[in-house]
Assembly symmetry: C2
Homo-oligomer: 306 residues x 2
């Protein structure tokens, strides 16, 4: 089970030559999930050689342009390149009208089924789930409705030790029960303990994505024990007031959330354009939370390396 | 009077790492006019060091995404960077709803006055005019409503020859009449012919922008004698049928329009992604119309050099 994140863009508000607006690609066991889609995301996907037709689920945190202006272009390109498989978009309700109005204006009937899933404005809930992972929204505190997302693998089944099937004559139809933790009772009534014939796989990974938001203490419980927490750091610690006014966080606030939530690692991004050199934001955050990583376009994080 | 064109993007349909969708900046005597605005245009403007706050007029040919998906991002950036002066957009009617819906979704009230001017769907008309130039729409033949634009300088006043004011004792209040072609009758009743005291300034420039369109013969009269004609060449000459189906033109068709319209120079662009090397499109077009230039991002054309 692979679990890898690629940062496609992590700037705030205004795209520049050096800074792409927010977008990330999460690869969970070769399922490609796109998180936010600022202007230029489709070109960033090309840059990092990610086949965007493999994306089947897109999560949009909120309807500020630096988080979704690239979506209509991506959808149009998927269409023009002949996509025919389903695509699911998870976003606040109004995005559907925005996309549909633009498709209508260009007289475009998409070749592929497009499903919109409205994110709740007032409750945290599971918005996607399959056999191996789930995605939950968490309500953040920004200037407009804004959701974070928690991507969480499900508990893995145990793995059979080498050669135990032959050694204990375990029939095929019992394997699943044993992987789920059952002991094995052979034909002689002998009990073989599960721990003697199986080993634990790795623990499930958890990735929490939180942008844009003011410091919001009550998210800590939900994002608890994330292997990686992405939290915005738009401003340095001395601009707390500006952060509050604009619905953003400072370096110290992101570090505080990471500490309170027991995050194993913190990824910071969404840096204000005022910082020509963003290393000051990294330094400040690291001062309070050591395992901090600074996002940049093209950064790849394999969770097994964390 | 400067008259300069900068190509910001000239690809068709799908943006890639090498090809930006359609956008051009026309500088008429330091008035900046933006023509089309595909995704990524604001970053292209930065790349070519064009201060986008100096743009006061934006002309959008039609509502296919590769011609306007960058507009909402550009407007938002203008707003975030503190613009307060008027901006005028000339486009088909539905663009207004698209922009307003997105501004509403992000709870944005622009800091600057934004004026939408609907382009007529059924008649060619002057859509902008000031003392020195006019802009006219021309109805093209595409799969959806699409307009070309003709940018045309007004006739210049004549210039006074050196020292004639002193030589003939011409009073200040007569100068404008003389610049407009009047003779000068001095106090002795002597007639000084206008041609003895003035010279012609250069002839006015005319730039015609035609994309996306099938071969459309009846535009030739309108775009007649353009110093530069931009005409799309999406396909090579052997794909005439495909061009017709998709509402585009071939190399030979663009050359034919340039010849019939008596264009002095032809700029071609909007090349289909199928051409890894677009020089074949240039060669084909040049074969029928010698003064052909191939558009590429960053190309600058000063009309005085044509």
């Amino acid at each position: 089970m692979s679990f890898k994140l690629t940062v496609l863009g992590c700037g705030s508000a205004i795209p520049t030559l050096k800074s792409n607006p927010t977008s990330q690609l999460l690869n969970i066991n070769e399922r490609f999930l796109l998180i936010d889609c600022g202007e230029g995301t489709q070109v960033q996907l090309r840059k990092y050689k990610i086949n965007f037709q493999r994306i089947n689920h897109i999560f949009i945190s909120h309807l500020h342009g630096d988080h979704y202006f690239g979506l209509i272009g991506l959808l149009t390109s998927m269409h023009l390149l002949g996509r025919n498989k389903d695509l699911h978009i998870y976003a606040h309700e109004q995005l559907k009208s925005i996309i549909n109005l633009q498709l209508q204006a260009s007289n475009t009937v998409l070749r592929f089924p497009l499903f919109f899933h409205d994110i709740s404005l007032d409750s945290d809930e599971i918005i996607f789930e399959n056999d191996s992972f789930s995605v939950e929204n968490i309500i953040l505190d920004h200037t407009i409705n804004c959701s974070g997302f928690i991507f969480k693998e499900k508990k893995f089944k145990r793995k059979l030790k080498k050669n135990v099937i032959e050694k204990y004559n375990i029939p095929y139809n019992q394997i699943d029960a044993i992987k789920n933790g059952a002991d094995w009772i052979n034909n002689n009534g002998q009990i073989i303990k599960n721990s003697d014939i199986t080993i634990n796989d790795r623990l499930p990974y958890k990735y929490s994505f939180c942008t844009d938001t003011r410091f919001k203490n009550d998210i800590c419980k939900k994002i608890k024990d994330s292997n990686l927490l992405y939290h915005e750091v738009t401003f340095s610690k001395d601009l707390k007031e500006r952060a509050d006014q604009t619905g953003h966080s400072t370096s110290f606030e992101a570090a505080s959330i990471a500490n309170r939530a027991g995050a194993k690692n913190l990824l910071i991004g969404h840096f204000s354009k005022r910082y020509k050199d963003t290393s000051i934001l990294l330094e400040e955050t690291k001062h309070k939370f050591t395992n901090t990583i600074k996002a940049e376009s093209g950064l790849e994080i394999d969770f097994q390396d964390l």
